[in-house]
Each structure stands twice: as C-alpha cells, then as structure tokens.
Symmetry: C3
Subunit: 451 residues, 3 copies
Amino acid sequence: MNDGQYLFEQLVTADIGEEIFAFVAEIYPICRSITGRGVRETLRAIGEHIKLEVHEVPTGTQVFDWVIPREWNIRDAYIKNERGEKVLDFAQSNLHVMSYSTPVRRRISLAELKEHVFTLPNQPDLIPYRTSYYAENWAFCMPHRLLESLRDETYEAVIDSTLADGCLTYGEYLHEGETEDEFLLSAHVCHPSLANDNCSGIALLTYLAKQMAGVRTRYSYRFLFAPGTIGAIAWLACNEDHVGRIKHGLIVSMVGDGGGPTYKKSRHGNSRIDRAVIQTLRHSGLTPTILDFSPYGYDERQYCSPGFNLPVGLLQRSKFGEIPEYHTSADNLDFIAPDHLAQSYRLIAETIDVVESDLVYRNTSPKCEPQLGRRGLYGAVGGHKDAVAANMAMLWILNLSDGMHSLLDIAEQANLPFAVIRRTAQLLQHSGLLTICDTTLDKRGALGTAQ
Amino acid sequence: MNDGQYLFEQLVTADIGEEIFAFVAEIYPICRSITGRGVRETLRAIGEHIKLEVHEVPTGTQVFDWVIPREWNIRDAYIKNERGEKVLDFAQSNLHVMSYSTPVRRRISLAELKEHVFTLPNQPDLIPYRTSYYAENWAFCMPHRLLESLRDETYEAVIDSTLADGCLTYGEYLHEGETEDEFLLSAHVCHPSLANDNCSGIALLTYLAKQMAGVRTRYSYRFLFAPGTIGAIAWLACNEDHVGRIKHGLIVSMVGDGGGPTYKKSRHGNSRIDRAVIQTLRHSGLTPTILDFSPYGYDERQYCSPGFNLPVGLLQRSKFGEIPEYHTSADNLDFIAPDHLAQSYRLIAETIDVVESDLVYRNTSPKCEPQLGRRGLYGAVGGHKDAVAANMAMLWILNLSDGMHSLLDIAEQANLPFAVIRRTAQLLQHSGLLTICDTTLDKRGALGTAQ
Amino acid sequence: MNDGQYLFEQLVTADIGEEIFAFVAEIYPICRSITGRGVRETLRAIGEHIKLEVHEVPTGTQVFDWVIPREWNIRDAYIKNERGEKVLDFAQSNLHVMSYSTPVRRRISLAELKEHVFTLPNQPDLIPYRTSYYAENWAFCMPHRLLESLRDETYEAVIDSTLADGCLTYGEYLHEGETEDEFLLSAHVCHPSLANDNCSGIALLTYLAKQMAGVRTRYSYRFLFAPGTIGAIAWLACNEDHVGRIKHGLIVSMVGDGGGPTYKKSRHGNSRIDRAVIQTLRHSGLTPTILDFSPYGYDERQYCSPGFNLPVGLLQRSKFGEIPEYHTSADNLDFIAPDHLAQSYRLIAETIDVVESDLVYRNTSPKCEPQLGRRGLYGAVGGHKDAVAANMAMLWILNLSDGMHSLLDIAEQANLPFAVIRRTAQLLQHSGLLTICDTTLDKRGALGTAQ
C-alpha cells in the first residue's frame, strides 16, 4: 500500500510545527462561543486551507434531548468608573465577558457589580474563562487583583451582546479513502482566546487534513470542527444514519503544551483505536498517561454515549483541568510551542499509520523457521541502528503470522515499535515469506471492536 | 422500592451496638456445645426477640456422610487436691472442661492428670478452648501457671457430664420478602463462653432479624442459628430440596472485636454477595482484608462444598486464628465493644441494601447525554458535600445504563459508594431519564452467579 | 498407577548426579558440529546406555525451507610461527576452529590472519565458540591475549577439514508407555567441547531414558538427540505425520550449572507442560525464572513455529546468553557439578511425575464435607512433617474434585506441592472418598492444550 512510501512520511513536513503555530496565532484572537460569528470566522480561516463544508443548524432545532439555543453575538463590553475610565475592556480580552452573557447597560454599585464578577483568588493575575449557555445571566471575568482595586463607587457596566434566533455552525471535511469506513478526527471550536484549548487542536487538524490531500488512504478521514457538546450532539443528530461507518475516532484538544501525552480510552476500552494510540505513545520516548474511559471530559462523552458507543478516544498533552493554565488567560500563545505541536501532530500521524497498515499476514513457510540467512535477511537490516530489533521483529512476525494476529497484535506481543514491525513485514513479504491474509477493512474494523 | 425510605436506614438504630452488646452479655455465660441444654437455652434467649422455629434432630440420624452424635450435657466439674480444695472449678469457667468430655470421677496422680490437661505454655494465664466431639475422651483446660503450681499429690478429678441419646438442636427464622429467593445469614451457636466467637454473631443476627420485622424486602431472609459443622450439615440435609432458593449467603462470626473487617469470598469467587460485601467494605473507611475462598474456615465449608456450591461468604472482623485471644478465655466481654458490634451491624445492613437495590436501569435518552441542566439535575445535589461524586454518578449511570449493567456494576466501575449510585439513580428515574429494565429477582440471582 | 510406587522414586537414584557428570566428562572432548563424525561418536556413546535408533539424512535433502548441508569433518588445525612453533593447536581445544571452517593451508601475514580470528577482548583469556554453517568461511578462535602476543611475522595457517556430501545424523529413543501419546525430551548435540551447553543436557536425558527402562508410564517418552535448528527441522520433516502425538515437550539444555532454574513457556503459554514445570519449580525451594515464549532461543523455536505450535518449553539453569561463560572455553567441566545435574534431573523427573499423575477425580461425597475423623484421615498423615499441608490438601481436593479440576489444577489453587496433592488424593481414593473421573490421556492432553 501507499506504493512503498509510508503514510507517516507523506503527512509530516519539516516545518509542520511552525505552520500549525502560525495558524493558532491567526485564530487565537477570535471571540468564539458555541454559536455566532466567531465560529463562522474560525471556519472561514480553516476553509483557506481545506475545502470545508459548513453547516448551519437553526435555533430551535431539536437534536436528541437538546434544542439548538439562540445565537449569541457580542460587539463590545466594558466597565467604566465614575471618571469615565474603562477599568475593564472586552477589546483587550474576550475572556472578560462570560460567554452567552445577556446584554447589559446599567449604572450599578460596586456591591451589585461584584455579584456579576468571576475571579480566581488563588491566581489573582489571571482572567478566568466562564460560560452560561443555558441559564440566562451576565457576568464579567477579571483578575482578582483588579477586583480588589476597584473603589466603592458607581460603575457603568456595558455588555453589547445579542441573543437571537440564528444558527449553530459547524464545519466538516472528508478525505475520501479507498473505502467508506471512516476515521473521525474532531476538534471543538467554541472556546474564545485560549491557545491550547483549543486553537491548537483546530490548527493541528486543519494542517493534517491539508497534508492528507492527494495521499492515498484505505480509510476515509472525516475532520469535524464543531462547538463542544451541543455541536457534537447536533452533528450526531444530523448524521445518525451514517455513524456506523466510524471505525476509529479521536477527539483532539490541548495539543500545544509540553505535558503528557494523555490518552483517554474509548468506552470499549480495548478497541483498535485505543490500541493503536497506546502502541504509538508507548514507543514515543515520552511518558504517556493512559486513562480508562470515564463519562466526564470532551466530546467523546457524546460519541461514547450508550446509544452510539463508538470507538472514539481523547488525545491531549496535559490532561484537562490538571494544569493551572486551564481555562484562564494564561492559556495564551506563550503557553504553547511549535515543537509541542509538531510532536502531537507526529503522534497522530503515527497512529493513523498504524491503523492504515494494520494488516494480517500469513507465513508462507509456517513449518519450522524459514532459512533467513539464505535469503540475506539476517543482517539485511544490519545497517540500521535497530538491527537487533529488526531481527527479533522477523522472528516474531514469522511466528505469529498464522492468520490470527495483525501487525498491531504482533507489535504488542513483541514489545517493538509498530514501524519496525511494519517495515520488517514488508521486507518478509518481498522475500515471499509472508502473504497478505486479509485486507478487508470491514473485517479489520470488526476485528478491532470485537476485541 | 421501600417507598423511598432506604432499607439501611430502617435497619439501623442509634443504640444498636449497646443492644447487641447487652444480648452478648446475657448469653455469654451459657455452656454451649454442638448439642445439649446450652444450645437450647441460647435459642430460647434468641426466641425472646424473634419468633424462632426450633428443630431437634435425633441422635443417630444420618445427615449426608455424618451421623448426629449423642447429646452431651454437663452439670459440674472440678479438680480437688488432697486438702479438699478445688484447684479448678467448672463453675468459674465452662472452658475448664473439654467439650464432649466423658464423665469422670477418679483419684489420680498428678502425672496421670497431666495426660488429661490442656494449657497454653505461651499464654500461661489463659484457659484454652478444646473439644473432642467424635473421639471419646476427657480433659481439663487450665492456665499453664495453674498446672505448674500443682504439687505432686493425688487429685480428685470429677466431670459430671452425660453422653446419651438425645438431639442436635438448631433454630431458624424466616423474614418473608416479596419473593422466595433467599438471603441466608448464619451464626454458629456451639461455642461456650467465648464472647466474640460467637456470641457476637448470634446477637448481631438476632437484632438484625428483630429490626427487619415489618420491613418490606425483595428477598426473604433466613436466619440460622446452628452448631458449627454438624449443625450446618444437618440443616443442609433437612433442607436439601430448597437450597436452590439461596441466592446470597453470609456466615457471621467474630464481629465484636475492632480488627478487620475480613471477608472470605464464596467458592464462586465473584458472586453477587462477594461483590456486594467487597463494595461495602471498600467504601467503609476501614481497611478491609479480602480473602479468596479456601476450604478451611467456618460453615461456608459446607455451603461451598462441591455438591452445593452456594454463593455463601464469611464476614468477620479479625480473621479466625490470627489473634492471640482466639479460642482462649481472653475472648471475653472485655475483648468486644458496642461500637465494633454496631459497625459490623452497619456493614451487613449496607450489604443487604446493595443486594436489595441492585437493579438494572435503562437510559431513556441513550443517544448523546441528556440535558441535565434543563431538568435542574446539575447542582440539584449541590447541597450535599458529595456533590461532585453525585454529578459523576449521574454521568456514569447514564453512560452505563444500557441494560447490561446493574447499579453494583456501575458503582464498581465508577469507584463510587453504592449509596451514591443508588440515590442518584432514583433521582434520574424520577426525572424520567431512567426506567427499570429488569426487576426479576430470579434473573438478578442468575446474573449474580453467572458472573 | 505405578502400583503404589511413585514414578519419581523409580527414576531417581542416589548417585544420579555423579553418573551424569561422568558421562558429560566422557563426551566433553568430542568435536561435534551439526554434521560429521563428532555427532556419530556422541550418539555411539549414548548408545552404550540406551538402545538408540540412529538416522542419517543425506546432504541435499530438502527439509521444509532448508536443505541438509554438506557434512563437515576436521582432523587437525594449527597456526605455526616462523620458528615452526604451534602458537595455536586444535588438539588442545576444538573451540580453536570456527565450526564448518573450509580447509586452509597457507602462509599469511599477521594482518591477513587477523581477518580470520575471533577473540573476546573483554574476556581476554577465553576462547570464543563460533560457527559459520551456511556462509563459507574459515576462522580461528583464540584468547585475546594470545592474539595480542603474536608478532608481526608470517604464519602457517592450517585447517585440515573437509566439506563433502554426507549426512546429518540424529538419534532417538522411544520409551513405550501405555498409550501412543508422547512426551518429547530433546537435547542438541551440535556443540563441541562445551560442558554445560550441551553435554549436560545430552547426559541428563541419556540417564533419564536409561532409568526409565522397565518403568510403567502412561505416556510414551521420545528422547531426541539431534543437532540444533537443522536437526530439529530434519526430525520434524521426517516425522511430520506423527507430531500430533506430542502432548508435552521439553527442550533440555545447560542443566549443569548452579543458576536458575529458568523455564521458557511454550507458545501456548498455558499448556499443561508449562503448568507442570512451573508447579514443580515453584515448590522446588529454588528461585526460578519463568519467561514468556519468545521466538528466539533453542529448538523450541521449531516446535513452536506456527505450522506446528506444539506444547514444547525450554528448561535451563542459567538462561542462555546471560552468563559470562556462555559460548566460551569457560563452559568446561569445572563450570558444572554433579549436584546441579542431580537437581536438574530431579526437576525433570518431578515434572514427568506431575504430567503422569495429573488425573481428574470426583468426590463421592460431594454434599458437605465427609467426616474425615471417622475414617482416621485427620491425623493419618500426622507423622509427616507436612501434616498441616496434608490436611489442607484433603480439604482442597474434596472441595475441587467436581469433575472439572485435575490434581494440577488443585495444586495450583491450593498453592501446595503436587506431590502432597497426589499422595493425599490416593489416600482419599483408598478411603472411597474419591473415584477417578477420567483417565483418558487423549482427553487430558486436550484439556492441557485447550486451556
């Protein structure tokens, strides 16, 4: 497959980290929420790179147990003191206003204002990120030090927002592979100026999709850019009849920091995507954390709800909620780095490579070992620094290629990197010692979920 | 079920520990053995609290591989020295005579006497507890210091006992539930003045049965007070045709000391009673020891014999044989305490609550998460200090209520206390988000043993 | 079976270690390779003890993916300096010549000689053991100190060897048991003067076969003495139709040193031979290492190739490759000892005893415990120092003899030595409390591999 060139090598470029970072920087300033112009503007930016299909779901549409809410937009917001000085200005940070705040234009006392202010007393210099999508309210978010500095006077509180019938917007892009079986890659697009959560995920998937153009794959790859929770629910409601195509899925968020990597398994717990990611992370040289599924987290909650139970996991660097920068103004461009983005990109590209190449071979000489030396196979890989691993890989592949073990099964049992197993299997195949036993993606998908 | 009031709360009273302790103190002085007046006197005392059905199995009755032995009774026993002084007096401790000692009235030398004396050289102040039910013999048990103080003279050894045809006696009490499926709770009644082993178990089960009167339960609860080994065998022989009703069972012994708790699993190893007890102990705040089944121990040996293989475990505080007080005169009223008895009682009541409430629900909105906020469920439990646990419980229950997970399954997977899962499930049920999927006790029993 | 006398006791004699050692010393000097006179001479020595059947497979014979190579023989070899002094002499150690070296008789410079010399710079006093069976070449092996002492002069290099059409030779001996089901015991005979690897294995199996003569067994025991790899492949090719008879197998090598013991499991990983060896090692008082199967090692590689997948494990003392003496001249008679050989012999004899005695019994009194005291069984074994173990063994056997657990299953679950379980089971059988449930070897074999 791939005519001898590995998918991984086709997907990765030298400056991929810098490119992703630049795109993060481009979309970082946009004020996103679960609906509104910020989402559309973000999707438009993505559309500069890939042919994105944008969908609008009208307010009031029933999506399973939920109803698409009114669309929220905001032009401006500030707090002025009695001297007319803006003590808080939305223009400086879109985190200053709680997402979905109702419009306000009032003179209020400090005491009343305080009832509509969120701060982080333990991180007094940071602005918290808050939302109130379904309970009508308004609030400002500010550094605790700012709140403490406010004098007891009358303030002018202005939030120039609108809540009105409109749409929820999401975008998707399909890279068509040889089959209709799909690998879903999804990033939430509802957070405002938070660089890691989730400009990083949006930008990484945009570049992955872009890089995949023209590359032959077995699976079709569906890239989804949708608001968290309600967006995933809306997508599932609109695509309910087709979700059976999804054989593997990854939610991608917070992939720009240097922590982790962290992988949370799908509800299946041992599906092929789980095993492919874990195999990749274990041989990455990093110190991954592997978490069992739990029903709290990102959009895997929806894909793994009992009515769908799709094999969808969550890939992050640091785990959400476990770093001080999480959901604060400290999640800015300084918090992420091109190197981390490139590393995360490579992990996903390698995972895709595992899933694409996870074939079942059959040893054509299954009785006793074949004579490798005669074929020049012992030492054929001697030039590589992993010659010992390659020799062991040969023995493992020949021993386990009985029609019941895929390359991923073999890599796991041999405790060797998948790439070594895959490359060695192709060498053996060229020598006639292996034949492909079963290339049907459907069956492989079934194999994955059956385990 | 239980019309909103939890079984646990109906079973537990504030002064339950003091009440059980007082009953232990009442029956502690009685000289029990595997047959005889002591057993009848004990059953009579139990009968003051619950309507006990007493059975008499005549000497010579074949019960499986065993035969009911002759009945043993004892009026008095002593050892007098040459000066007529009683150096040992049965009236001071019924441990002084080996249980089932044949009658004796002889003058014997110290040397001959020593052949009929048991002591504990390493615990020289304590009287050991000894029996010889099936090999005819007689013996005195005494502190090693006493034996060492005896002068080399002639002693008058008297054991005024009888071994004659009679009966083996046991008592049982059935609390009738909504179904005929039974939960067996059994305590051995054959040990003389040993407070923990097993006056504690007898008294605890007496008060549990008493407290259960008038309480609606799904299962029927069979309380059995029988001599160890031969009594359990006799009961099984008399009830062989009905043991299939026993879906869960607990042997209760040594529940008054502050050690443990210790749970020894049934032979199944993963039956529902095993999982219910373990779930309760793990969230008890104590440091439980969980032991695999072994064929050495208490009456679970009989229930778990291969011809029955019933799901019956053993609950204790300290493990038998592993404390210095075990089977000595130090196992007295000072060794146990009302607090420990109350704690043991609560553990059993909680276990019963788990088994009673272990329903299978089905999420009525299984595609994506339902919108909890709209129903006031997020934060509905905010007042509780375990609000976070309750929120997680909601998500876990909704995610796993696919008709294949009971509440106990969910509690185990969520690593949350069963009570939190149960309470939250009822909240979700009232909101219409859950329906009971299967309430058939038979099926639940089968579910339990099938796992 | 065995009419009351245990197989183990029939197989072990007091001086077995000394006898095996003496035989090792006898065959140690022979220059073996994968073909040639050394193998034949070794088989002739074995034939002095047992009626060995010797097979010759001609050069050029196709054996699966391999072809039997030309036969190699060597008469002499040396290196002479300009003064005619032999600086290296094959007569002093047959390790001095790389096995399968082509004939050489030349005057060469030191520089050229060095291209045909192997040494061990980190073990400068030892001669390495090297082979080049399938790539034509010649080389000397010598201590690194010797190489360093050689002056820059012209040397006469002589290897008086022949490579010519001939045969590969192996020997086998069948001890016929009650059934045709076989236990394969195999030792490689291709290494020259290396005492542990594998004169020890050859000698141990020779004496085991010799000792087995006249002993009644259920299984037939096939002893195979063949060159490593190509010999095992040749044997499998010649016996392809009959390998289904092999129910258990052990590769025996390096059993004379004091390390380990080390057991590498068969590819099945949990076959009966694996469990029998592990059971024996765990209760040996030694500190065994149990390794999962891997496709690198000794002849288990061939028996466990996917086309055969036979239940064959590898038993060693120290693990190959993990000791400094491995494949050097330090693997000499000083490196092994009669005590270690005797210990290894006993481990194998005990394993055989487990496999032979691993019956499934049925408790004839399965409802409740039978009354052991009445039958004199409690304490019947009191004279033994392992009386407590025997009592526990009785309870475990009675509890688990439900027709679904063999004695090995019971020994594992009870964590007791197999010998205690077996002896106790026979005691219970004599008391009528157990009957043999299933003695069919075929079924037992199936049981073993099915697990």
